[in-house]
């Protein structure tokens, strides 16, 4: 019969009661391992995006398995496919509804440059309407390429100055209803 329980949790006697780090490091560590994607699946790239979510490639190894179909709950919009001029408005509107911090990944040739669709109907690169952080080549890219791109995005997030201005008071934005701060 056991007389004492083995302690698996954080042991303050071993670690000390204070962890010294930088705010940037902590914030970026949290953000880069919990990138909830907004799957903007518009063409065949979305099939590869789905494969990346499956068991074989398993995007959840990077904390990105929680595909959010609501822009308000997602951090990173993965534009997977051909963006037509008619759809450009929707992509922009969904991007605007995402809460900061937010990132955009242009997955594949079409989202990056218009790809093979040099045509009257296709937006020649999604970077014309939203700021793109990572471009992934391929037509469509394999899931490995997507994972590589998402790891690049993690590297980029880790280098951001997330804590800059965090402690200085910012002026409140005027209310949409009253117009007063």
């Amino acid at each position: 019969m056991p007389t004492s329980r083995t302690e698996f949790a954080y042991n303050s006697k071993v670690e000390g009661e204070v962890v010294v780090s930088q705010a940037d490091a902590v914030i970026n560590w949290v953000r880069s391992h919990s990138v909830w994607p907004m799957p903007m699946g518009l063409a065949c790239c979305a099939i590869e995006l789905m494969a990346a979510g499956g068991a074989r490639f398993d995007i959840s190894r990077f904390g990105m398995e929680v595909m959010r179909f609501s822009p308000r709950q997602s951090d990173c919009m993965i534009v997977a496919g051909t963006v037509t001029y008619k759809m450009a408005e929707v992509v922009r509107r969904i991007y605007e509804q995402m809460a900061a911090p937010k990132w955009v990944v242009a997955m594949g040739a079409c989202a990056s440059t218009g790809g093979m669709y040099r045509s009257y109907a296709v937006l020649q690169g999604v970077d014309r309407i939203v700021p793109v952080d990572i471009y992934i080549s391929g037509c469509p890219p394999r899931p490995e390429a997507l994972l590589d791109g998402m790891m690049l995005l993690q590297d980029k997030i880790r280098k951001e100055q997330s804590a800059y201005g965090l402690l200085t008071p910012r002026p409140r934005e005027p209310s949409l209803v009253t117009g007063r701060p």
Partner: protein, 207 residues
């Protein structure tokens, strides 16, 4: 094989046979199209409108036409009906959307791409391009790359400065490779002008 063509010719003096390699085909003047279509559906059993498409005959007058494909689900036979819009400047043919509901969206597509007006259509609006787009892209004079115009969403255009542009063609439309390829990447679609790529630097640029 051409019994349906003979039947139509005997019923309607204005119907003429149309040269065809595969299925029976007839020409019908646009002002008699609904008359013939009604008989085709109610008396002759052509119960499906499989497809209709606009055609731009370029230099010919009348310039625009519409080609219909009908199907007889009992006999399992097809019939092609071709008509021409008499006015080349403002092409118009009667709508068949009330006889075959399948005609609804197809007529909207032909209107969107060619500017052919379907008289009597319940909702003749664009179906592929956005409302307010100033061109009909499948007309012969319209370039594949497109013509610069405004984005459909004014707020997106104001926030980003983006426009609908003439796409950079780089020597022609992108095509998949046709010859033998040793690497899968060589078979990916590419432009006609490959004078500079990832491996070959731009002219005037240091490699």
């Amino acid at each position: 094989m051409d019994t349906i063509v003979d039947t139509l010719k005997s019923k309607f003096p204005f119907v003429t046979p149309r040269p065809s390699h595969d299925q029976p085909a007839v020409n019908v003047p646009a002002d008699h199209l609904r008359e013939v279509a009604q008989v085709l559906r109610d008396d002759l059993g052509y119960d499906m409108l499989l497809d209709l498409c606009g055609v731009d005959w370029d230099q010919a007058r009348p310039r625009f036409g519409v080609i219909y494909h009908f199907y007889h689900s009992g006999k399992k036979t097809y019939l092609r009906v071709a008509t021409l819009a008499p006015d080349s400047a403002a092409p118009a043919v009667p709508s068949l959307a009330d006889l075959w509901p399948a005609g609804d969206w197809h007529e909207r597509e032909a209107y969107d791409m060619f500017g052919i007006h379907f008289e009597g259509h319940p909702n003749l609006t664009r179906i592929l391009m956005w409302e307010g787009y100033p061109y009909h892209p499948l007309r012969k004079e319209f370039p594949l790359a497109g013509i610069e115009t405004e984005l459909p969403a004014a707020d997106t255009a104001a926030a980003t400065g983006a426009k609908v542009i003439a796409a950079p063609m780089m020597g022609g439309p992108f095509q998949a490779g046709t010859q033998e390829h040793h690497h899968m990447s060589d078979a990916e679609p590419r432009a006609g002008d490959q004078s500079w790529t990832e491996s070959k630097p731009k002219p005037g640029q240091k490699g």
